[in-house]
Amino acid sequence: MSADSVTQQRFALPALPAIQPPPPPRVPVQPVDLPGPDLMADLVHRMRPVCARAVDDDEIAAVLEANGINDRVAWRDFEVTSVFTLAAAVLHDSAADRRTGRPGAIPGPTTVAGGRPPVLDTLVRAALYLTPTVVALGAAGYTGGLPTLATKGAMVFGWAVSQALAYLGYCVLGTAGRAAAVRLLGVGFAAVASGWGLLLWLHHVPWPIGYLVGGAQFALFAGTAVALVTGTERRVLRWAVPCWLFAAMMAGTAAAAPGVRMIAVAGLGVSLAVLCLVAYRPVTARADVGAGRVSGRPAPRQVVAALGHGVVGAGQAVLFVLVVLTGLNPSRLPLDAIPLLLGVPVIELLLLWHQRRVAVGRATLHDRPAFARHLRRVSRGTVGALCLPVLIGAVLLGATAGRSRLATTVLLTAVYALGLVLATHRRLGTAALLVWWPAILIAITGPARPVWVHLGSDTAAAVSGLTLLAACLPAVAAVTLVIRDPWSYR
């Protein structure tokens, strides 16, 4: 009868190598004159790997006992009064052996994962992020004339909600397990989508197309969020492929016969439903059981932090609408958005690289000044990389008259990157400021500008670009301070 501590659930019992020779010390045990020194040498040899890592002789005693050497065996075979005495002798002899350089299986130093980020995983995530865009482009020919609430409104709200719920999902995943996290996301998205449906009904949005468009967006956000939280990106992405195909079919058959169009729409709907079912399958799995689980209810401060993530997400989405979608021809591939599509995976890779370098530093360094130096070196590289889109955007803004949209998208990529760093390091207030104040300024000078102010589309893009550039400069300074702060990594 024994119990694991609730603070250390893992119980990996070290087993000694095969006993040579195997003495079967059955009880009734008769005292037998065994060659003590040889047995001792054999035991010391077998215990060397354990001794090399042992904290003290009690650890050796515990391992000896777990391998059947108790006080009786210690007395009979090694002529010492207890297993504790034997343990001390074994530890002493093993240390002496090591000093004299006798061969033995000594474990090497713990290796630390290198700094190479998993490129494929990052690309898979980027492809998942891309799915809503692909579907939106495919469905563009079908959504014309719908109220903003059902299209861009649902996108902004869904983006914000997915950021908030994903954060809560990660919190619950860490404490209550996967099923609880998936359940939270499922219930959260269902509630939010229902609320949004009510809003559409109150605003007399056309039934059913408006509801389907809004619902499809929520389904995409829900599928992506749960894939990220549960680490099932690859599986969910596989099931997103039919969505891509039906979206392409919709784009290609926008002017086709109603029957063909109906097939494409139904196909997209079914594939979206299947995607959600696959993504949310863990919720139907057996819940994590036992006394070692926390309830799936997040703490109040986690809810507050989730709201912060939601505010940041909403700001990002509003910027996306203002900078990328406004003035876009929905039936054409938005070439100006390519920097953003390329930038997202690159940002992820950069942050992964940074986190891994920092983790390697913490795993290998023993003193804080050395770690501070290491952190400064890594941070220099990261900040340098983060400055690149800012510089490129600034140069494009000044040099390419008439192509300000491209510069603006590059700068938007920079804003996203800086915002992501700040949010990752729990500076949600700064991140929200970074995305919201340019969003408000761009809105004022763009879609929400007074009717008596006349701006050409490129001039509006240039103003947006300048606004984003102005947001980036202090953000770079803030990010530099944040990523050089050792406390950011606790």
């Binding site: 250390q8 391998n67 913490r362």
Partner: protein, 522 residues
């Protein structure tokens, strides 16, 4: 005259949430001491889903103390106390021990409900303490910053039980050292309530084994913390009641006062485990327990394969649940059965309502564990009149005495030889079985076990004279401390002879003590 008494029974992740040996013991105690008003306190990882076991009417409250989950920041940052704890646990001197105790006590007397080390720069404090202690000459592995972070997380969570709110009681009974005793100590420091500690397995020993795969720095930090905590709890406990003398060795080695240590072995209900009349037609070895790596079923399965070469047709009957998290291990066992072509010879019977049914399916009962405290299954088999083949771990040899065979753990050949010996020799098997039943009736009944705890409770709450333990010498001259109760509770030392000729340092038993409130255990 009824003596009202309220006892907080503190356990770590077991009663009433998870079945197993400790839960069985807790249930016996709670139901057996029906006159006590019990307040159950369970240290859990997080909020448990629901109680697995039904609670009797004398349970007044059930409190859970989660150590994981969201933290609650303390009102005052106890930086000095935190540093004292770090420094004290790493050092070896008396001053270090005092430092650790002082720091922990300071945290314990802070307002309850807040996690005392939450939000503190514990990793930095640990690194500073590490440097200071190694400069003084204490040998420790190098601690990386990452290891300090990881260790700090564990330490912060491990001290959360200090924040536990438990009802006002007359006595705290911790069912283990470590976190359970941390609550008992904190209560004692706050209110002066005495505490009893029972150890089923040796907490520190299990921590050593559990931490084996940790990185050196994390391992050293965690084990130093647990060692310091365990030692402090041994000193603070008003009585220590291990279930076997095996545990007692570790307790005394780590500072327990021998006079406070009283071995109280587990017991079972003889009415529930009536002697079995016959034996099955086919030679069968039965095993009862949870499917768990600690039970080392692979050794038993390998042994059965060897037994079948000498006693053809031998079967193995395995009865017990597969706890959550052990599915992979169970699959490994089934795979081994297939590899050894034992599919037709081994039965995985799953959970059984009564272990007696499982023992009835076999000629001998086997236990192949690599770690045990004092296993109920062995006592139950003995009570049913089945002889046992067990591994020499924990208090097993003390329980079995000369009524069964005990072999080294992880040795399938030895296990097989012992099984063959008993399967082939029917008269000897019958003789050992009869002796096993007699021994179990004499030493391991639940009434005797519960009665001993009743005595302890009365003594610690001032209703009965305390008892003492004195060291005695065994016949071989090796020292072995034997707990002896003072008259009139004691009927003298009771030392059944172990199979190897040593005196088993098993405690004495006394007559039933007066009931706490006039009632008897049901």
């Amino acid at each position: 005259m009824a003596i009202p008494i309220e006892v907080a029974l503190v356990n770590e992740g077991t009663y009433p949430y998870a079945p197993g040996g400790v839960s069985t013991w807790c249930e016996q105690l709670v139901r057996g001491l029906a006159e006590v008003r019990w307040h159950l306190v369970t240290v859990v990882g997080g909020e448990p889903a629901r109680a697995e076991l039904a609670l009797p009417a004398n349970v007044a409250s059930l409190t859970t103390v989660p150590v994981w989950g969201p933290g609650r920041r303390p009102r005052h940052r106890a930086m000095v106390a935190a540093y004292r704890i770090c420094r004290g646990m790493l050092g070896d001197s008396d001053a270090d021990r005092a430092d650790f105790a002082h720091g922990l006590r300071e945290l314990a007397t802070a307002p309850v409900g807040r996690h005392p080390l939450y939000g503190l720069p514990l990793a930095d404090l640990l690194l500073d303490a590490w440097s200071e202690v190694t400069r003084r000459g204490v040998r420790l592995p190098r601690l990386t910053l990452g290891e300090a972070d990881e260790a700090a997380v564990h330490l912060e969570h491990a001290t959360r039980p200090l924040a536990a709110r438990i009802p006002r009681v007359d006595l705290v009974h911790a069912t283990a050292n470590g976190l359970s005793s941390l609550i008992a100590m904190a209560t004692k420091w706050r209110t002066g309530v005495p505490f009893v500690m029972t150890e089923h397995g040796v907490y520190l020993r299990e921590r050593y084994l559990a931490a084996a795969e940790e990185s050196p720095g994390v391992k050293a930090a965690l084990l130093r913390f647990h060692r310091a905590l365990v030692r402090l709890a041994y000193r603070q406990a008003d009585a220590i009641t291990p279930v076997s003398s095996f545990n007692r060795r570790w307790e005394i080695r780590h500072g327990a006062d021998p006079e406070k240590v009283h071995v109280i072995p587990n017991g079972v209900n003889p009415r529930r485990y009536q002697p079995l009349a016959g034996e099955p037609a086919v030679p069968t070895i039965s095993w009862v327990g949870r499917i768990d790596p600690l039970k080392d079923l692979q050794t038993l399965i390998e042994a059965v394969a060897m037994v079948r070469r000498r006693v053809p047709g031998t079967r193995l009957h395995l009865a017990g649940p597969v706890p959550a998290g052990n599915e992979e291990y169970a699959a490994d066992c089934r795979r081994l059965v297939t590899e050894l072509r034992l599919t037709d010879a081994v039965t995985f019977a799953g959970p059984c309502a009564s272990s007696r049914d499982a023992f009835a399916a076999g000629h001998v009962a086997a236990l192949s564990s690599i770690s045990e405290g004092m296993p109920y299954t062995v006592v139950e088999a003995m009570m049913c009149g089945r002889t046992t083949v067990s591994t020499d771990v924990g208090g097993v040899a003390e329980v079995v005495g000369d009524t069964g065979l005990v072999v080294a753990p992880r040795d399938p050949a030895a296990l097989a030889v012992a099984c063959v010996e008993l399967l082939r020799d029917t008269p000897r098997r019958a003789e050992l079985a009869a002796r096993a039943r007699a021994r179990a009736l004499e030493h391991f009944t639940v009434d005797r076990c519960v009665g001993r705890y009743r005595e302890r409770y009365l003594a610690l709450t001032g209703h009965l004279a305390p008892t003492r333990a004195v060291p005695v010498a065994t016949r071989t001259g090796q020292p072995a401390d034997v707990a002896v109760d003072t008259p009139p509770l004691s009927d003298g030392p009771d030392a059944p002879v172990l199979s190897d000729g040593h005196d088993a340092p098993v405690l004495s038993e006394g007559p039933d003590a007066p009931a706490l409130s006039g009632g008897r255990a049901a």
